[in-house]
C-alpha cells in the first residue's frame, strides 16, 4: 500500500526513512544486509545478557517487583522526555527539511504531527533496544502478559513526546530563540540524569540509622487518585488490562492535545529561530581593536573564539560533571579517611580529558575552511601546533583553579592531579587526532557515532587516568597498573602511517 504524497502517513514514513538513514549511516558498511545483521546480533546479545536479570526479577516478591517496575518506568519516562527535548530542539535549530516542509502546501499541523510521531517511534525504539529484550525474557519466564511492556513503552513515548514538545515550546517562549538551545540541552541533561542524581542524593543523605529506602518512603506521598495514575503502567505491565488501557489513553490524549495546542506555536518558534541569524546582522557597537601580528597568534585567537562561541561545548562539559560528581562523592565518603583531592581529582580528570578530546576534534578535525587553510602560507605542522596550543589554554585555566585550591591543602596531591590531568588530556586529544573522524562543527553532538569508536577509546583512556590518579592519591600500587594500561592502550592505538590534517577534499573536476 502506498500512502498519498503529502498525507500524514507519507510524511511519517519520510521521517522514519531519514531516521533509518541516520542510523545506518553510523556503520562503515551501509548495505542493508550488513546493518540488519548487526542489529540482529545486537538484539541477540541483549537477550542473552537480559536472561539472568529476568530470572532474578521473577524470583522477587510482587511488592518488590512493583517497586522495580515503578523505578524503571520513571527512569524510562525521564529518559524519553530528555530525548524528546533534544529531538525538538534539534528540529528547531538544525532544521533539516523543516524549511522545505514549511514552504510546502502541507498543513503545518500535519508537519508537526508527523515529526512528533516519528520522534515518538524513534525514542521508543531507542529505549526499547534496552528494555524490550528484558521484557521478552521476563515474558518467557512469567507469562506472555508481560509483553504489555511494548504498548506501555509506546504510551510513555507519546507522553514523553508531548512533554518534550511542551518544554521546548515553553523554553522558547520564556527565553527566546538565542538562549533556548543551551537551556534545552541543560534541561535534557538534567532530566536524563535526574534519577541517578536522585538515587545518589538519597544514598548521600542516608545513614546507618536511616537507610536510603526509608528516606524515599518518608517523602510526601501523592494523593490516592494520582497514585493510581502513576502506578497505572506498573499494574498494566503486570497484567491489569484496565490500567494498561488507562496508561495508553493518557499517552495518546496528551500526545494529541500537545500536537493540536502546541503544534502551531512550535512552528512559529521554528520560523522565529530560522530568522535568528537575520536579526543578528544588526552589528553590535564595539570599539575597534588593533589587529595583531603572526600566523600562530591568529590561529590561536581564531580557535579560542570559535570554541568560546560553540553552542554544544558548555552543555557537554556540564553533563559530564553532572554524571560524574555523584559517583565521586560516593567513592569519597566510602573512604576511611577521605581527602579533598580524592573528591576533586578523578572528576576533574574525566571532565578535562573529555573536554580535551572534543576540543581537539572541534579545532583540528572540524575545521570550517580546510581548503582555505591549505592555501595559506603556513605549514600543516604549524597549524596543528597552534590549534593544540589554543585548546591547551582553556584546559589549563580550568585545571588551574582546582589545582591551586588543592595546593593550599594538599600540595603533593595537587601536583599528582596536575600531572595525571595533563597526561589524560594529551591522551584523549591524541586519540582524536590519530584516528580522525572529520565532520562539520555543528555535528559535534553526534561525533561519537564515528565508526572508528573514537569515543570508546577516549573514555577508556580517561577512566584509566582517573583511576590511576585516584589510586596514586591513596598510594595504592593499582595506580601504576592503570597508568601503564593507559600508556599501553595509547601505544597500540598509535597511528600507522603518520596522519596529516585532513585538508584535501575530493576534487570537483
Amino acid at each position: 500500500m502506498t500512502a498519498r504524497p503529502g498525507s500524514f502517513i507519507w510524511l511519517v514514513r519520510h521521517d522514519l526513512l531519514l531516521s533509518w538513514r541516520r542510523f545506518s549511516g553510523r556503520f562503515a558498511d551501509r548495505s542493508l544486509l550488513r546493518v540488519m545483521g548487526i542489529v540482529a546480533l545486537g538484539i541477540t546479545f541483549m537477550h542473552v545478557i537480559s536472561g539472568p536479570s529476568a530470572i532474578i526479577f521473577a524470583r522477587k516478591a510482587t511488592d518488590t517487583r512493583q517497586v522495580i517496575l515503578g523505578g524503571a518506568i520513571l527512569f524510562i519516562l525521564l529518559w524519553q522526555v530528555s530525548q524528546a527535548i533534544s529531538h525538538f530542539t534539534r528540529l528547531l535549530y538544525s532544521r533539516g527539511d523543516l524549511d522545505l516542509l514549511l514552504s510546502s502546501p502541507i498543513s503545518p499541523r500535519v508537519v508537526v504531527g508527523a515529526h512528533a510521531v516519528a520522534a515518538t517511534l524513534e525514542i521508543t525504539l531507542v529505549v526499547g533496544a534496552f528494555v524490550f529484550p528484558m521484557a521478552n525474557m521476563i515474558a518467557f519466564r512469567m507469562g506472555w502478559s508481560w509483553l504489555a511492556i511494548y504498548p506501555a513503552a509506546l504510551a510513555s513515548g507519546m507522553l514523553a513526546s508531548a512533554c518534550g514538545l511542551a518544554v521546548t515550546v515553553g523554553l522558547f517562549k520564556v527565553l527566546g530563540p538565542a538562549r533556548t538551545r543551551m537551556a534545552a540541552q541543560i534541561t535534557a541533561a538534567l532530566l536524563a540524569s535526574a534519577l541517578i542524581l536522585g538515587g545518589q542524593l538519597a544514598y548521600l543523605l542516608s545513614s546507618p540509622d536511616r537507610p536510603a529506602s526509608a528516606l524515599i518512603r518518608s517523602m510526601p506521598q501523592a494523593p490516592d487518585f494520582m497514585d493510581w495514575l502513576i502506578l497505572a503502567p506498573v499494574h498494566g505491565i503486570a497484567g491489569d488490562l484496565g490500567s494498561l488501557l488507562l496508561w495508553m489513553s493518557l499517552g495518546s490524549l496528551t500526545f494529541a492535545l500537545a500536537i493540536i495546542r502546541l503544534g502551531p506555536t512550535f512552528l512559529k518558534s521554528a520560523i522565529q529561530s530560522g530568522g535568528l541569524p537575520a536579526r543578528q546582522i544588526v552589528a553590535r557597537e564595539k570599539p575597534e581593536k588593533p589587529f595583531r601580528l603572526g600566523a600562530g597568534a591568529a590561529l590561536r585567537r581564531k580557535e579560542l573564539k570559535l570554541l568560546g562561541r560553540d553552542p554544544w561545548l558548555f552543555s557537554r562539559a556540564l553533563l559530564q560533571a553532572l554524571y560524574l560528581a555523584p559517583i565521586c562523592i560516593v567513592i569519597w565518603i566510602s573512604q576511611d579517611d577521605p581527602s579533598l583531592s580524592l573528591l576533586v581529582a578523578p572528576v576533574l580528570i574525566m571532565v578535562l580529558s573529555h573536554l580535551a578530546g572534543i576540543m581537539a576534534w572541534l579545532t583540528v578535525l572540524s575545521e570550517d575552511a580546510p581548503d582555505f587553510m591549505t592555501t595559506a602560507p603556513v605549514t600543516a605542522d604549524q597549524i596543528l601546533r597552534s590549534k593544540l596550543e589554543a585548546i591547551a589554554l582553556p584546559l589549563g585555566l580550568i585545571l588551574l583553579g582546582p589545582a591551586l585550591g588543592l595546593c593550599w591543602f594538599e600540595p603533593w596531591d595537587a601536583l599528582l592531579t596536575v600531572i595525571f590531568a595533563i597526561a589524560a588530556c594529551v591522551s584523549t586529544a591524541l586519540i582524536n587526532i590519530w584516528h580522525p573522524a572529520p565532520a562539520k562543527r555543528e555535528n559535534a553532538a553526534s561525533r561519537h557515532n564515528a565508526p572508528k569508536i573514537v569515543s570508546l577509546k577516549e573514555n577508556i583512556l580517561a577512566v584509566c587516568w582517573a583511576v590511576a590518579c585516584g589510586a596514586a592519591l591513596t598510594q595504592e600500587i593499582f595506580g601504576a597498573y592503570a597508568a601503564a594500561a593507559a600508556i599501553f592502550f595509547l601505544w597500540i592505538n598509535r597511528p600507522r602511517p603518520l596522519p596529516a590534517i585532513p585538508q584535501q577534499r575530493q576534487a570537483r573536476a
Binding site: 535568528l276 537575520a278 564595539k286 576534487a507
Partner: protein, 253 residues
Amino acid sequence: MSVSAPPTPALSIRGLCKSFDGKAAVDQLDLTVQPGEFYALLGPNGAGKTTTIRMTAGLMLPDSGAIEVYGADVLKDPTATKRITAWLPDEPALYDKLDPMEYLEFVAGLWGVDPDVAMSRARELLEVLELWPHRHARCEGFSRGMKQKVALAGALIHDPMLLLLDEPLTGLDAAIARQVKDLLTARARMGRAIILTTHILEVAERLADRIGIINAGRLCAEGTLEELRARTGRAGDSLEDVFLDLTRRSVTA
C-alpha cells in the same frame, strides 16, 4: 642596444596532467598569464577548470607538469607561492561564528600582513564592499552575497599578486556582482594577475583581457575575444556563440 628580458609570467603552467580513477580531468594543459592581465578560463561542466585552479592554489597535487607563480614553483616552494596568491571558491570558506573584522584579522595574521596595514586595508575593503556597518555581526547571519563579499575581502587583504577566482559571482545579485567586478578590474589595473572561471559569459566578455576555453582538460582555444571570433570566422558574434562553436569543434576534433 640592450634587449630587455621578457617579464616573468604571473602564472605559467606547462604540461599539467591530473586524472581521477583513470579519467583525465586535466590533460597536458599549457597556460600563461601575465602580470596585470585579467584572464577568464571558460569551459563546460567537468572541463577541468576547478581542478586547474585547485592545483594552482596548492589544494591538489598534479600527476605531472609544472606550475610556476611569478617564477616560483608551486610544488617545490608552496609557501612562497601561497604568500602571493589568493584563492576564492564559489562557496565562501568562512567561519560562521566570526565577524568580518575578526575574519580579516585572522587572514591577515596567516599571511603575515603588518597589523596596521591590515587594519586600514580591512576598513577600505569593507567600506568598498558596503560591509562596514556589519563588521561586528557574525557571518552566520549573512546572506550568500554578503558571505561572498567577506570572502573576497579576505582574498584581497594581503594584496595578492595572483588572484584565483573560481566562479566568484555565482549566486550574487546584480548590485553585488557589479561591486565585485569593479573591485577586480581595479586590481588588474594595479598590475595584479587575475584568473577567473565563470559560467557567466557576459562577465568574461566584459572584463577579461584574454579568454581561454578548456574542454576535456585541454585548452582548445585562447586569445582576446576578437581573436576567438576570428578563429571561428564569426565576427560580431557574442562570446556565447563563439564559446559553443569552439567547444563543439573540440569535441568533434
